[in-house]
Symmetry: C2
Subunit: 225 residues, 2 copies
């Protein structure tokens, strides 16, 4: 609110986007992402971010208005991109099976490409943000993006029923299982260590599509209780 001193200068510098200014700003965003990923939003302080860059906390305010804004800058692009990609896949031609596979691999690849930005977002439960210190308006936007991702996935699952490529008795639960499997990667996936996102995505798709049951059995105690 107080457009005083540093606030003015930041706004100005941002407007006439100086050459190296944007670059330094990106360094700060990257450092912020790492800190947020390590400690979570609430436990992170701008002091941590400054230390990681070997600079002073106050210097950050020349580039960023607040911890909240930094969080937004960290997540904004990555999340939007993932959601748009998902919607694109959902709207593609082709049977639902292959679109589901593509959605999973594409999402994993995006998680890798936007590492660790995406995981910062996944870690925070944007649904409970009203009781957190994250900016509320921003949180609503994020929740909305999450909803759109779910919608894209649901569309594929429903299409699968129609085109006969998928057999899904409980679509909403299926959605949560898929999202859970994919998003839980924030606890174990580190780009560069082990398989690539593409490999992992395909293997995950295999598992989710064909199941763990060895072929040549038809069992299934199954169903409700």
């Amino acid at each position: 609110m107080a457009k005083s001193g540093i606030g003015r200068r930041r706004t100005a510098a941002l407007r006439d986007h100086g050459e190296g200014y944007a670059q330094r700003r990106n360094e700060i965003i990257a450092a912020g992402a790492q800190v947020f990923r390590d400690k979570g939003f609430e436990a992170s302080s701008l002091r941590d971010v400054a230390e990681r860059l070997g600079t002073d906390r106050a210097s950050l305010y020349y580039y960023v208005a607040s911890k909240n804004e930094l969080f937004q800058l960290v997540t904004q692009r990555a999340v939007t991109e993932v959601v748009v990609a998902a919607e694109t896949v959902a709207a593609q031609e082709g049977d639902a099976e292959s679109r589901l596979r593509t959605l999973i691999t594409t999402t994993m690849e995006k998680y890798e490409a936007h590492f660790p930005y995406m995981f910062v977002y996944i870690q925070e439960d944007m649904n409970r943000i009203h009781s957190s210190s994250i900016d509320e308006v921003w949180a609503r936007t994020m929740v909305e993006l999450g909803r759109r991702f779910e919608e894209a996935l649901m569309r594929i699952l429903h299409d699968g029923g129609r085109d006969g490529s998928l057999a899904i008795s409980h679509p909403h639960l299926a959605m949560n299982v898929i999202i859970g499997a994919v998003n839980w990667s924030h606890r174990w996936f580190t780009p560069g260590r082990g398989s690539t996102s593409k490999e992992l995505g395909n293997q995950m798709a295999d598992m989710l599509l064909t199941g763990f049951l060895a072929r040549g059995q038809q069992d299934s105690s199954s169903s409700t209780a």
Copy 2:
């Protein structure tokens, strides 16, 4: 450390476990669980807990030494119980398929029985606790429990390869997919709303065992990249 005043009295009251004392303490633990679940550990303050109980923050210290201890009390029993249950299932007789199903349903049932205690634990990433304010020794214990759960699951998956009931090309990834699907429930499952944990567990097991692919197809672009 400072065994002064209130600390002494708390220790004493705890030792000669007064009748209503334990009960009031449990109320506080329950309230703590709710607050932790709503806001996450870091964002929660003892002030929040006190307010939820309509009492004063300082009163809590008569029952609980610190926010850290409260967190431990909230998670301790639930997590231990889930892990022990998982190990029991893993050690049971029977083919791997049915044990895997049982592990999933049992876990979901425990999540329901220990709601919201278990979700408080799942929400926090105990692996990054060294950079959080949660007690480090305690965190290690929790990490160890998580490892034991994974171990139990891995045992079942391996057995499935031997007894021929499961076909799993990438066991470790399969483990992460299953755990992800199950644990992600902390974002969408509320006991009493919708299906029961037993129903959900069985449906999830169906999905993971048989996959989403409609039968009568054998496709699979499959595998690595």
